[in-house]
Each structure stands twice: as C-alpha cells, then as structure tokens.
Symmetry: C2
Subunit: 154 residues, 2 copies
C-alpha cells in the first residue's frame, strides 16, 4: 500500500549517540518510512520533537544530501549564521559536503513534526559543529579519531 | 540558505509528454527544489495541482524510488486496486520496479500541493499503465518501441 499507515509504523526514541550527547535527543520520536515503504534508494523518517527536544546534535554529512519538510508545529533551525523559524510547509535542503552544521530545536510547548529524507552514501562520514565528535558508517569518534563506545543506528 | 524560499523558485507547467497526453497535466505547476537547494543525490519538486489536474500519467519507475508528502488540499491517488484519498501529512512510497502504476488527481475545487522526491537512476526506464507509452532517460516510446516526437524534461 503506497499510502503509508504512519500510526502502524513503530516509533522509537533510541539513539546511537554516546552519553552525554544522547540527552538532547531523548524527546525525538522517529518512524522509519523508507523501510516501511520498501524504498532502498533513499532514507526517510517521520520525526516528532517533543518540547525541548533536538533533531540531532548540530551536524553535517560529507556524502549524503538531506531534505526536510515541516509538517506541524514550529521548530528553530540552528546553523553557523544563526536561527531560522520553521513552520508547516517549509522545506530545507542540505547538500552533502556543506560543512555548515544544522539541527532543529523545538522551543515551543507543543510537539512539532517533520519528514527527513536522505540520499547518497549512507556509510559516509560527517561531523558535529559544537562538540568533539565525528562519525562514519559504523560509529562515533573524537575529532582526534579516538572512538566513542557506541555504534551508529540505522 | 537551507530553508528554501519557495516563492523565489520559478514555477512551470511545462511537460515533455507528447500530445494528447500532455493535456491532463496542464494544471500541474512544479518547482524544482533539489536544484535550488544544491542537492545532487535526489530529485525533489514542489507541485501544485489546479482543480482537475493530474500529477502525471499513471506510471511507474523501474530504477527510481519515489516518495510523496501531501502539504495542502486533497487529491485522489489512483492505482491498480483503485482510489485512495490523500490529505495533508499523508505520505506515499513507491519502490522502484513495482509495476503498479500511480498518479494523483485533484478532483476538488481548491488547489492541492505536495512534495515529490525521487532517488536512484534518473536515466532509468518505466512505463504508463493506461496508455500506449513507456520512457527511458531521453524520451517517450510506444510500447512497441516506436518513438514519440517529444523529449523528457528535467
């Protein structure tokens, strides 16, 4: 069935982030849409951010394009240049290799939700703008290459 | 700027479909988002369907996954099995190679809008469910391989 039954897709707030970087995303509840829909050429997730939750640590991908479509509520996009309010119908695009890190923060009292899509090399690398962390397809590392103890999740 | 200024992106209702198959999509107004946002690993378009307009002839892709997110209004998804109403927040996924053709029709008096995303081999092939037409990366053909006179648009 091409129209996805979102409510029937399991929702999780799990993360592979090591402590203490996992705490900011504890209120991020995601559903894997691409897997549910049989897609293999892109990743797609439906994400709900509870009040206060972050979409991720502020990051970029070296090898994957990302697209985000706001569905409900309001979020603040944070990048090097500052803050941008996002509302339903807004669309953001982050080309692979652009090292201006981004994430969304729900600063409101209501949930917000969006769809996040990715395409490219899902085993590629990237890094975080505000913390001593980078990643590859398998895990997380200090910027000097020393591994963190957790694995990336898919 | 990752948040796309949708109004600043040129809007077009052009199509590569040969006559008379172009008529059903004359009220389909699209904006190319991936190009505007610098994305190369996926295609993404913002599409407005005027009352009566079709999103496309009913089709499938052999080599590209497609994802659709309804933004506003209402549309009817038509597939082999029949009709499904789509409303804002609904998400549809069409895996490459699934030969159950799909398209959306705006049967309402108000515009509807959605985001359509694709990933995979954009020079791949596909075909149409209800008419004597198939396509490859360059153009359109009768099902016996005889070309139509028009080219595919990107």
């Amino acid at each position: 069935m091409p129209k996805l039954d979102l409510e029937a897709i399991p929702q999780s707030n799990r993360t592979g982030y090591p402590d203490p970087f996992d705490q900011a995303v504890a209120g991020r509840w995601w559903r894997r849409l691409a897997r549910a829909g049989g897609l293999t050429e892109m990743g797609a997730s439906h994400v709900v951010l509870k009040p206060g939750a972050w979409s991720s640590q502020r990051h970029w991908h070296d090898d994957e394009d990302e697209l985000l479509i706001m569905l409900s509520g309001e979020a603040v996009l944070v990048e090097d240049e500052g803050r941008t309010i996002l509302r339903p119908g807004d669309v953001c695009a982050w080309p692979k290799g652009a090292t201006n890190g981004h994430h969304l923060i729900n600063e409101n009292r209501e949930d917000c939700s969006f769809i996040a899509i990715s395409a490219g090399d899902r085993n590629g690398t990237g890094a975080y703008s505000d913390i001593d962390m980078k990643f590859d397809g398998k895990g997380y590392y200090h910027k000097d290459g020393t591994p963190y103890p957790t694995k990336r999740m898919r």
